[in-house]
């Protein structure tokens, strides 16, 4: 448990320190209004990052999420505006499509034993291309549900308003935490990322798990697309370009090991908030330009990866190489063996 928590603690400390710096510099920063906006503006990123956390912990990667978000917005816009489908039906159809797409990617990765990187890259091309073919222009969504959702807000003390999409993100975070940390599915995800061969020998259904993990990621990316469409009230096939990178960055900053086997949902959530914090700081400052977001994210990414690398090395040095079986849910031995084997 200690091992699992320590990277998250560092992430949390970075967030708190960052927030304190912002609050010290700008008197109006420490308000519920800013916090609520932080949650609303990064809701879609949060939702998609939770799915990515599962994929990365299992030792994979999913590059298709950004284009799935774009596809989702275009799909919703076209089905509700042109075909006159009620939004809820469009959502259901969309999530079904996403589940099928994710399952197909997972199946290809497992059956043909191909690197997830390149399979999901192909997936990214397919989905982005499909949304281009559906429509290349930005289509506004005028369904009444959308105004209802955007009018909704839980009033917080101090003038903040927790929007519907922030609530969706928070519930996904809660559900994701339960799924990852308290179910057999979650344990299997960790086992798969720790050591594929060992988990196969222990009876983890590798194929079914791979399919389900990518299915989960694509469904959450579809949900993130729904959230994004609430946020922008439009469908645009060029939306969310590069979101896969922001997502991976958030997951890594959240303390998830990119080699798999270690990580947490709550860490990812804080990682998303840190990225949002950088953006908010730049907005508050007013003199800094938008590209500083990218540079700052890059620096943070480097710092956290270097930190992870240091911790993995420390772990592999301070303990003998072949540690016995299962302690702490099969997490620690796998990390040690990976530190030892990987070049």
């Amino acid at each position: 448990m200690n091992r699992l928590l320590s990277p998250v603690m560092i992430t949390a400390l970075v967030f708190v320190a960052g927030f304190a710096i912002c609050a010290a510099q700008f008197p109006n920063f420490a308000s519920t209004r800013v916090v609520a906006n932080l949650l609303t503006d990064n809701a879609f990123l949060g939702v998609v990052a939770i799915g990515m956390t599962f994929v990365i912990i299992s030792g994979g990667i999913d590059l298709s999420v950004g284009s799935v978000i774009a596809f989702a917005t275009v799909f919703i816009a076209l089905t509700t505006e042109r075909l006159g489908l009620p939004p809820t039906a469009a959502f259901a159809l969309l999530l079904l499509l996403c589940a099928g797409f994710g399952a197909a990617m997972g199946a290809v990765i497992h059956v043909f034993d191909m690197p997830p990187f390149i399979v999901t890259l192909a997936g990214m091309f397919v989905v982005r291309g499909t949304s281009f073919l559906m429509s290349t222009e930005s289509t506004p969504i005028n369904a009444p549900l959308y105004s209802t959702v955007s009018d909704f807000g839980l009033a917080l003390p101090g003038g903040g308003r927790l929007s519907a999409i922030a609530l969706i993100m928070l519930s996904v975070v809660a559900a994701g935490s339960i799924l990852l940390h308290f179910t057999r599915f979650g344990t299997n995800v960790y086992a798969l990322g720790g050591n594929r061969t060992a988990s196969a020998l222990m009876g983890v259904p590798i194929g079914a798990m791979t399919v389900r993990i990518y299915m989960l990621s694509s469904v959450l990316a579809g949900l993130a697309g729904i959230v994004f469409s609430f946020y922008t009230a439009a469908g645009y096939s060029l939306a969310a370009v590069g979101v896969e990178l922001d997502t991976i960055a958030a997951v890594v900053i959240g303390g998830t090991l990119l080699t798999g086997g270690q990580g947490s949902v709550i860490g990812t959530f804080i990682g998303v908030l840190i990225q949002g914090l950088i953006q908010t700081y730049i907005n508050f400052d007013g003199t800094l330009s938008s590209w500083w977001t990218k540079i700052a994210t890059g620096i943070l990414l480097f710092a956290f990866i270097a930190l992870q690398q240091g911790m993995v090395r420390l772990a592999s040095r301070s303990r003998p190489r072949n540690v016995g079986v299962a302690s702490g849910g099969g997490v620690s031995p796998s990390v040690i063996s990976q530190g030892g084997v990987s070049p």
Binding site: P115, L133, A249, S289, F302
Partner: protein, 327 residues
């Protein structure tokens, strides 16, 4: 090796010829060439010319992939070097601008190489850092604007010609020659393949794997910087937001089409460049055919999947099983 090469490259060369023939069917003037203002024009030249940046990228990328690595930052490096070259073009003589841009490329490669070889970070992750931050750095250099320039010397890199052949094509040919001579003319190619095949075993048998890896990433970024200069010279300006955007994916695709395994080991420079030309021939074909260019991505995805399926170990197992069953 000598005997195996033609057999290995046959599929790619046939695919390129097939795609060019399809292009010919789509547009009857496809093979027409004409000389105008001392420079060759025609769709075929266009394929070579437009394909030059990706061909350069794939030339560097193939070496990186042969060491079992990957470089996601090449697009960002293109943006950085383009931004530097464009900002310096009108105030400095062209060799300074080009040297500064190439130097920045080498520095980026050194950074990537150190992260991968010395700190032992996974290549995807290590180069992801520069991919994210690099475009920000490029925007910092151009101050978020599209920097334009008029220096005819630098513009030559994009639109000039040598003996009627467009400059980008000449640059690719020269780089291919240099890389080929350096890599295949010495033991370096063998060392790279050994590093990719089994880094630990190579290290133990005396191969300087760390140095090899750093050198390879530096070469890859140098190629990317050169591609960035060409891309900037082509539009007489540097667009930090869009220069080289998604080209890293095209370069990886070109290498994969060229038959180099993503798991490292054997590689072929010529086939990687051939892969880049296949991609460009497809792009040009789709444009000429009048289909919306949006089809590009879908077609590309289909090609990646087919090539990967053909390469996948699982399929090889199935086919050998079938053969055994027949025998």
């Amino acid at each position: 090796m000598k005997l195996a090469l033609p057999r290995r490259g046959l599929a790619q060369i046939l695919a390129l010829i097939a795609i060019l023939l399809i292009d010919r069917l789509v547009s009857p003037q496809f093979f027409d060439l004409r000389l105008q203002d001392g420079r060759l024009f025609g769709s075929l030249v266009d394929v070579l010319n437009r394909g030059a940046p990706v061909a350069l990228l794939s030339l560097g990328m193939v070496l990186v992939i042969a060491t079992r690595g990957i470089d996601l930052s090449v697009g960002a490096v293109m943006a950085i070097s383009g931004a530097i070259a464009a900002s310096l073009a009108d105030s400095c003589p062209w060799p300074v601008a080009v040297a500064a841009a190439l130097g920045a490329g080498l520095a980026c490669g050194l950074w990537n190489g150190i992260l991968v070889a010395v700190l032992g970070i996974q290549p995807i992750v290590a180069t992801l850092i520069l991919m994210v931050a690099g475009r920000g750095v490029a925007q910092l250099i151009t101050a978020g604007r599209i920097v334009t320039f008029t220096s005819p010397d630098l513009v030559w890199f994009g639109t000039g010609a040598v003996l009627g052949i467009p400059a980008p094509v000449v640059i690719v040919a020269v780089m291919l020659l240099i890389t080929g001579v350096v890599v295949r003319g010495s033991a370096l190619g063998l060392l790279i393949e050994a590093t990719g095949g089994n880094a630990r075993a190579s290290e133990l048998s005396g191969v300087g794997t760390h140095l090899t890896i750093v050198a390879v990433y530096m070469w890859c970024s140098l190629c990317a910087a050169l591609a960035g200069i060409i891309a900037a010279a082509d539009i007489m300006g540097a667009d930090a937001n869009n220069a080289g955007l998604w080209l890293e994916l095209d370069a990886i695709l070109a290498v994969v089409i060229g038959g180099t395994s993503l798991f490292g080991g054997r590689f072929s420079l010529v086939l990687a460049v051939c892969g880049a030309l296949i991609i460009q021939a497809m792009n040009t074909g789709i444009l000429l055919s009048g289909y919306p260019p949006e089809f590009n991505l879908v077609v590309k995805a289909a090609v990646v999947l087919i090539v990967l399926l053909l390469q996948s170990p699982a399929l090889a197992n199935i086919t050998t099983a079938v053969r055994k069953a027949r025998a």
